[in-house]
């Protein structure tokens, strides 16, 4: 079949859906939505519609990036605007169907916003939501919009035009030139120029080459690759097919974590449908170009995100990075053949670049980093979720304009970018632009795009300890510095947060950290000390307070805090006294309560049960003893 016919069929299906006289309900059923209960909501909506004998189009879609609002559904009348409803529960289904679909009046109290024809009073336009207003969605274009298990939706919204353009007239050189001119840099985190990588892989003489997609996303707090795979799998498949055509490969592998079952399912479905349409397999679109994709499920080792370890893992060997000096994967990769390895997002944006052109891609971004970046916003922010912004957007814009700032009137303390390999940046650096080079210069990294915001209640020593605990466990054990060094750093940090820190510890952490960074084999070890090194660099006073004063200024580390009851505020209500699990509170009716500091286990129950109007229990830095009560 010719592409024009395929596209026509797809367009007809899509247009029919848009113009359908039936009401339509779109449910975000990516993993995040499902975890929040989207499947139950969908079932409840179905039942409500069935009871009322209403025929409606119910469509599943991927993640729209508004984590706070999950389960997130869209209801469209027949006619009228589409209304997004947030935090929908199965119990709300009846009301939504009755009010919005039957009576035609959207339920403003549960609505997030509206879009399309005919605005509704009291509802914000979706495009005006702060979380969306500042975004430029190129990679996430289809996420939360189309049905990710229907290739016709992808094609109808512009998908596969790039592949058609490529196989019907572009030479591999033209493609690589276009990608190079776009300035696209590897979105897996390292930022290697994608065009140059494609070009060098193509130039290695070989009859066989492979295209591999790194979907081994493993950073705590990062979920952008999963969202793309679940919400727009076809873009990755198309991007890889184009890459295969450009470098001269006929086979590709997607290395995806087995912990992402929905992504695996969507990818399997996407490749099967692409094959059915003649967009993959033998003689793609009649061009004579053959390309096939295999989905390989990784067993969940963090280190297998490293290129050489990933390749070994596909080969059925233990994933351990190969030490330098060694040939690049583009020269000697999978089964010793030249192999192109890019991240999910890097492949996903390729069709966009080839359709819209390198110049339009490069119109956004900074001098050396073009296009957009996807971040998972998590932590102490009003709006958490998945966002896409132009390279060069400042941390401040992301955190305050998009993220809505720090809730509960707390003060911003730090932002951690790049996952466990990244670094923590303080308020002074909030005007840093996000791109590969500028974040690295500040001591953090772009990494996979995780962004964790911390407020004044976060202990930076404890944060460093958390990330070291992760990298220490995920070290592959190959090189001595990473295997043993991260453990030493972790144990030192554990001692510091337990109040057993030694005055030499900061210097030793710096010395160990530098040696591990310099001497380790792979990126895991070379970046594992970053959380400790950057927190020492920007928050040294917190380390010193833990070590010298035995105080946790953020009041997090249990061994370095105390709970006290203010004699002025205590109303002797007996609540905390009764609730204390270790009977550490003494007092009686009409007798101000006092915490026995030697018995207290700093669980914080007293503070949480003290009625808000009294607010008599306070957590203070430092460890008191009974002697202090005297």
């Amino acid at each position: 079949m010719k592409f024009e016919e395929i596209a026509q069929t797809a367009k007809e299906e899509w247009d029919a859906l848009q113009a359908s006289a039936k009401p339509s309900i779109v449910v975000g059923t990516a993993t995040c939505g499902r975890a929040a209960g989207a499947m139950e909501v969908m079932e409840a909506l179905r039942n409500e519609l069935k009871e009322r004998e209403i025929e409606a189009n119910i469509m599943e879609t991927g993640c729209f990036g508004l984590c706070d609002a999950e389960p997130l559904i869209t209801i469209k009348g027949p006619g009228g605007p589409s209304v997004w409803y947030r935090n929908v529960t199965p119990e709300m289904a009846g009301k939504l169907v009755e009010e919005h679909i039957v009576k035609g009046s959207p339920v403003a109290e549960h609505a997030l916003g509206a879009a399309g024809d005919g605005q509704v009073d009291g509802l914000t336009a979706m495009s005006d939501l702060p979380m969306l207003k500042f975004q430029v969605r190129r990679i996430l274009f289809n996420c939360g919009v189309v049905d990710p298990s229907n290739i016709n939706h992808y094609i109808a919204t512009g998908g596969y035009q790039a592949l058609n353009k490529v196989v019907s007239g572009m030479s591999p050189e033209d493609i690589i030139d276009e990608i190079t001119r776009s300035g696209l840099r590897g979105l897996g985190g390292a930022g290697f120029p994608v065009g140059r990588k494609w070009d060098s892989c193509r130039r290695v003489p070989s009859d066989v080459r492979y295209v591999v997609c790194n979907a081994d996303e493993g950073d705590p707090g990062a979920f952008q690759d999963r969202s793309v795979l679940e919400g727009d799998p076809y873009s990755v498949v198309e991007g890889m097919t184009i890459a295969g055509y450009a470098i001269g490969a006929q086979k590709g592998y997607i290395y995806v974590r087995a912990e992402y079952p929905l992504a695996v399912e969507r990818l399997e479905n996407a490749t099967a449908q692409a094959k059915e349409k003649g967009l993959m397999g033998k003689n793609i679109l009649g061009s004579g170009f053959d390309f096939d994709l295999e989905i390989f499920q990784g067993a969940g080792a963090f280190v297998c995100g490293e290129s050489t370890a990933l390749v070994l893992s596909i080969e059925g060997k233990r994933g351990m990075p190969k030490p330098l000096p060694r040939p690049r994967t583009t020269e000697v990769g999978l089964w010793d053949m030249p192999t192109l390895l890019n991240n999910v997002k890097s492949y996903s944006i390729v069709p966009w670049i080839l359709t819209k052109g390198a110049d339009q891609f490069a119109s956004l971004g900074t001098e050396r980093c073009k296009g957009t970046a996807v971040f998972s916003l998590t932590g102490k922010m009003a709006n958490c979720g998945l966002i896409e912004v132009p390279m060069g957007t400042t941390l401040r814009q992301i955190i305050y304009d998009i993220g809505g700032g720090i809730p509960k009137g707390k003060a911003f303390k730090a932002v951690q970018t790049g996952g466990p390999s990244g670094g923590c940046l303080p308020a002074e650096l909030l005007d840093t632009q996000v791109d590969f080079d500028k974040l690295t210069a500040a001591g953090a990294i772009m990494g996979s795009g995780g962004m964790v915001v911390m407020d004044e209640d976060t202990c930076m020593v404890d944060v460093a300890r958390y990330f070291l605990d992760f990298t220490q466990k995920e070290s592959c054990g190959e090189c001595s510095l990473c295997r043993l060094g991260t453990l030493q750093m972790l144990q030192t940090l554990e001692a510091i947060v337990a109040g057993e820190g030694d005055p030499d510890d900061i210097d030793m952490l710096l010395e160990l950290g530098e040696a591990i960074k310099t001497g380790s084999i792979c990126g895991l070890g070379q970046s594992a000390p970053n959380p400790a090194l950057t927190t020492i660099r920007y928050f040294r006073h917190e380390y010193e307070a833990h070590i010298h004063e035995k105080k946790c200024p953020a009041r997090v580390c249990k061994d370095l805090i105390s709970y006290v009851i203010s004699a002025d505020k205590c109303k002797a209500c007996m609540i905390c006294l009764r609730e204390c699990p270790v009977d550490a509170i003494r007092g009686a009716k009409k007798e101000v309560h006092v915490i026995d500091q030697d018995k207290c286990i700093r669980c914080g129950v007293c503070m949480s049960v003290c009625p808000e109007r009294f607010g008599a229990v306070e957590c203070i830095p430092g460890r008191l003893t009974e002697a202090d009560n005297a």
Binding site: A301, L324, Q488, E511, I521
Partner: protein
Amino acid sequence: MLDEIKFAIDGTQIKANKGDTILKAALKHGIYIPHLCDHPDLEPFGGCRLCMVEIKGKGLSISCKVPVEEGLEIITESPEVNKVRRIAAELLIASHHVDCLECARNTDCKLQDVASYIGIEEGRLKRLKRVIKDLPIDDSNPFFIRDLNKCVLCGICIRTCGEILNVGAIDFAFRGTGTLVATVGGKPILQSRCVSCGECVARCPVGALVPKNAERPTREVSTVCTYCGVGCGIKLGVRGGRIVRVRGDVNSPANRGNLCVKGRFGYDFVNHPDRLTSPLIKRNGAFVEATFEEALDLVASKLTDYKGDQFATFASARITTEDNYVVQKFTRAVMGTNNLDHCARL
């Protein structure tokens, strides 16, 4: 002839063969660079990070993987080099059982070499936490002990088993500090595919793999293994008239230092009380010691009773190929039969 490459280590001009690594070339010239995971028989691993050197103009690099190049200038001692390898050595020692006097490898230990070269300072070492493993010792194999508590995870045993033996009985398992050299399913080594050749034991740089009942020999005797016709060159370690160790002779063209389980560990027959030291002839229902002349005369006289297919020969694989040739010649030409076999088809 091999191409020769000239380069400099610490300002001294050195000639090396093309393809040699910096570490190999340095060691050949008697220049010690600390190392643990490298072994001349095996592919480079690059895990211990101890052989770090500075290559002028290129920065720090491990020396076990970098081939020599014309004009390279290598610096083995610099603050940058020391910063990394000292920490690596300290980390290894902080996690090692340093009961050296009780270790069979004492004074023959690569970790001791590293420590004494780099110079371990007690004050610095004390800053680190002691992280010692407490795993059960695997003594299932009759010939050697696996004490993973002493293992430095250099991977030499794994590469030996894979690259030299093609057996692959062991590999790395688990992650992080839990990383271990393990058999499939973590079973005792005797229940694995291990063929007990002891090649890993011979190469283990520390006391993680040691022969059972190891005694240090006072001298070595070069000879040929008596087990089969391959004729492996062996070095018998002798102590007080007893053989206490056997190792392969690296200069023997037959085995280039490698041995099988019999050659390496099967030497207790030499001093065994049941060993036959003279021929026995059965007289009146009981074996009686005899001389070789008596025994040969007896056999020769009995052989004359038979001819052709009444007769068959069964030869030993423990005699040389040449001797086996003579045996078959005798069987065919003298005894006139093709009834001939030997025991090397096990």
